[in-house]
């Protein structure tokens, strides 16, 4: 099959970007979306042109490295699917697809479709950890955690940090990402030590990085490839209130 692409090309952080037209020929329906881009890049390289820069690593939907806007939606049309797990059989012969990078002040563009998501690391460094000294590998069952609680913490922990939530949000807010980590740690006994400082420090880091606030629309939840729920943002807000009145 053949698809027409409109791809955001931008040579560097300060250059002006624009959409450039390409045609991807001889695309097999079983190719992944990124394999389709690989094949376009091979043609570009053969012609001596600069290939389209984009990020990917595992290509199996678990690492969070990939991520582009596909026709105005992060990771493309399928729910709970990363763009590396999107396949060309989703498209018809002759379709036109618009591909753009995440746009956010806190995610400065490096080149074409590649952005720097280091701000997420800054948020995690601000409080997304536990400083319990575990010594050697502890016995997994030394601290008993009810199954339901463990499951809930896991639901939050599945965040792969791809940045789709920020990309989808009209305020480029990192509330879903930040809150997922806060929920995860607030549910577990190991997270209690920093319970009253973590949320404040992570929210401060989120604001300082240049992300916007949450308007409670929930576009983030709808596009999240891991289905992270908006309930975590409510948890973050609740933890924030607790921390505000905490005696410290």
């Amino acid at each position: 099959m053949k698809v027409h692409l409109k791809v955001w090309r931008q040579t560097g952080p300060d250059a002006t970007g624009r959409l450039v037209d390409y045609t991807a020929e001889n695309i097999a329906p079983d190719m992944s979306f990124l394999e389709m881009l690989d094949s376009v890049n091979e043609t570009l390289i053969a012609r001596g042109e600069d290939p389209i820069a984009f990020d990917s690593d595992c290509r199996e939907g678990i690492c969070g490295t990939c991520g582009v806007m596909v026709d105005g939606r992060p990771h493309g049309p399928d729910s709970c699917t990363t763009v590396c797990q999107l396949h060309m059989r989703r498209y018809n012969d002759g379709d036109t697809i618009v591909i753009e990078p995440w746009q956010a002040l806190a995610f400065p563009l490096i080149k074409d479709l590649v952005v720097d998501r280091g701000a997420f690391d800054t948020i995690i460094q601000a409080g997304g950890y536990t400083s319990v000294n575990t010594g050697g590998a502890p016995d997994a069952n030394a601290i008993l955690i009810p199954k339901t609680v463990a499951d809930e913490a896991m639901d939050a922990a599945v965040c792969i940090g791809c940045g789709a939530c920020v990309a989808a949000c009209k305020n480029a807010s990192a509330a879903l990402f930040t809150s997922a980590k806060i929920t995860q740690l607030s549910l577990l006994p190991q997270g209690q030590a920093e319970a009253s400082t973590r949320v404040v420090e992570m929210v401060d880091a989120m604001d300082a990085a240049g992300f916007g606030g949450c308007s409670n629309e929930g576009e983030c939840e709808a596009v999240c490839p891991k289905g992270i729920s908006l309930k975590h943002i409510a948890t973050m807000n609740r933890e924030y209130r607790k921390a505000m009145f905490a005696n410290r």
């Binding site: 916007g212 308007s215 939840e221």
Partner: protein, 220 residues
């Protein structure tokens, strides 16, 4: 100091937007209940107006409402501006994500609906609170009923009020449930109920307020 700092972050600011917003919804509910007395005739309505205005607490209450409104506007504007700064380069193509997103016409127009409501509020207070002071049969009691009936016999004003109430419905349709989320009260077990209550309360308030000018125009 600590509390002030906490209330100035993105999360703390939305706390204040939510608290002030919900307080204003509380005021609207009481206001609607009082206004509906107009359907019971001039004595009841004017008596209610007189009782309100002669209460010594009315001035502090009014100042409190203005304070709530200003804080709501200030924090909400800051939130919008912060969001705009956070995305300097717009997408060429952007679509709504669809379910389970709560994005609605209400949620996307909060700024515009807020501005329209502010304009409405100023004109509303100017027309009614500071409108003609007709004396009623009872000495010292203002005939507010006569003024309301006069004002709402102009089709233009009735249309303006109905449109403004549609706008307030849109604003509350997102605002009420969103406030619960901002305050961290939207737990999984309550989410469906809060969304439903937010929707119905906005319909009831907007519909109830819109009914009054229409009723007066048609029947009084």
């Amino acid at each position: 100091m600590k509390a002030l700092k906490a209330l100035s972050t993105s999360v703390g600011s939305k706390y204040l937007v939510a608290l002030t917003g919900l307080s204003l919804v509380g005021f609207l509910t009481a206001h609607l209940a009082g206004n509906l007395l107009i359907l019971l005739g001039p004595e009841k309505f004017n008596g209610y107006g007189h009782a309100l205005i002669s209460n010594p607490l009315v001035i502090p209450a009014e100042l409190g409402l203005i304070g709530l409104l200003l804080l709501h506007i200030f924090k909400a504007l800051r939130h919008v501006l912060l969001g705009r700064t956070a995305r300097p380069q717009a997408y060429t193509r952007k679509v709504w994500a669809g379910a389970p997103s709560r994005k609605s016409w209400g949620s996307t127009t909060m700024l515009v609906s807020g501005i329209i409501l502010l304009v409405f509020l100023v004109s509303h207070i100017a027309t009614l609170k500071f409108g003609a002071d007709y004396p009623s049969a009872e000495p010292g009691v203002r005939d507010l009923y006569r003024l309301v009936v006069e004002v709402f016999h102009s089709p233009g004003i009735v249309a303006f009020y109905v449109v403004a109430m549609v706008v307030i419905g849109l604003h509350l349709r997102h605002g009420i449930s969103s406030a619960f989320q901002s305050l961290g009260l939207m737990t999984p077990g309550w989410t469906a109920s809060i969304l439903a209550i937010g929707l119905w309360l906005s319909v009831i308030l907007a519909g109830g307020f819109a009914l009054i000018p229409v009723w007066v125009y048609l029947f009084l």
